[in-house]
């Protein structure tokens, strides 16, 4: 079976994406976002609260300037409406959710096929080399430092090493497959719940 973990996560992510995008309930979308963040963090992707909170606030605030629906209160002469607030929160949650879902999708380091894939591998190999050489350079004169850095690669061939030696075994693939089927199912269950009467009941209860 020539399937890799990276491929499974990639496909699973693509299956989960519409469930977040098409979600109509803010509450269930929030749960989906938390789930996506948990998946990304579990696979060692970084989560920082502040940028996400800032994004949520900025997008929501800007959307408040387009009054829509129930009038809640005023900030100066600006009417704040429930519809505008919800649209803003939904947009921000969608953005954050897709961001972390994307992080999960690339957590197993998928490889691009063909010439482009080889070129990307070469790019990453050069990045490692640049980082290594840059660390030992005098950065007080940045122009000179960059020049020296680039010159150091002259007359040098970066060997194309094959970093994709590891082969995912059958049990690992099966486990990955099982886990991802569960993730996909949960994302779509949350979507269905968000579209059902339960979401409306919960919304009335909460608001």
């Amino acid at each position: 079976m020539n399937v890799k973990r990276a491929d499974i996560r990639l496909v699973a992510g693509l299956v989960m994406l519409p469930a977040v995008l098409l979600q109509t309930s803010v509450l269930f979308q929030f749960v989906q976002v938390c789930y996506a963040v948990s998946l990304a963090v579990y696979f060692k992707r970084r989560f920082r609260l502040l940028p996400n909170v800032l994004l949520l606030i900025t997008v929501t605030l800007v959307n408040v300037f387009q009054p829509n629906g129930l009038h809640l209160f005023d900030i100066g002469s600006l009417p704040v409406t429930a519809g505008a607030l919800l649209v803003g929160i939904r947009k921000a949650l969608t953005l954050i959710g897709l961001l972390y879902l994307s992080q999960y999708m690339v957590s197993a380091k998928p490889k691009f096929p063909g010439a482009l894939g080889r070129l990307l591998s070469m790019q990453f190999m050069y990045v490692d080399q640049i980082a290594e050489r840059w660390a030992s350079m005098d950065k007080r004169k940045p122009i000179q430092a960059i020049d020296t850095l680039l010159l150091s690669f002259e007359s040098e061939n970066i060997l194309m090493e094959n970093h994709d030696e590891s082969v995912d075994t059958g049990p690992i693939i099966l486990k990955e497959l099982r886990c991802n089927i569960i993730h996909c199912a949960l994302f779509w269950i949350l979507f269905i719940l968000g579209s059902s009467a339960l979401a409306d009941t919960l919304a009335v209860y909460l608001y």
Binding site: A40, V64, Q66, L99, Q103, Q123, I146, L151, N157
Partner: protein
């Protein structure tokens, strides 16, 4: 490693990959620099794109822009999100603007002018995408500070690129070859 795109213009894969790696390295450095406001970007990763203007052929330059987008998307993990759309749009806009401006007006426009044009093209595309994807009409409230920050950082980056082009031994050797 050189591949032939056609009989006359071989694509210098090594050089393109090196410059693409440099964009990725600079974007990592930029990521580490704390920013007072979320929309503030220095655009350090555009430096190799500016340097490459005088070195790369059109196909090589397009490949560099594509690698910049893909590399950043893969490293940050944003390649399958809205952020990738912003990144692709802004990279394409700034790369095309800078390339055509350099080809048409390099006698009259220096790196600062090219940098400003590239940054403005990039920012306008990002604002347009934000208008339809995120913010709606209220987005124009963010436009003035966003464009101002973009202008200032483009001037600084342009000055740096001009200095590099004037003084770099590596750059001169590439232009000569």
């Amino acid at each position: 490693m050189t591949q032939h795109s056609n009989k006359h213009h071989p694509i210098r894969i090594d050089l393109v990959a090196l410059l693409a790696a440099f964009t990725l390295f600079l974007s990592t450095i930029e990521y580490l620099i704390p920013k007072p406001v979320p929309f503030m970007r220095i655009g350090l990763a555009n430096l190799p794109l500016m340097i490459a203007l005088g070195i790369l052929a059109p196909k090589e330059y397009a490949l560099l822009a594509l690698l910049k987008f893909l590399g950043q998307g893969l490293v940050t993990g944003t390649i399958f999100s809205y952020v990738a759309l912003f990144s692709l749009g802004s990279t394409t806009a700034s790369a095309c603007t800078m390339y055509f401006l350099y080809r048409i007006g390099k006698r009259w426009v220096g790196m600062v002018g090219i940098g400003i044009a590239g940054a403005m093209a990039s920012n306008v595309v990002q604002l347009a995408l934000s208008r339809y994807i995120l913010f709606g009409p209220g987005m124009w409230l963010i436009a003035p500070p966003f464009l101002t920050v973009g202008f200032v950082t483009a001037v600084l980056l342009g000055l740096f690129a001009q200095q590099f082009v004037n003084r770099s031994v590596w750059y001169k050797s590439k232009v000569a070859s």
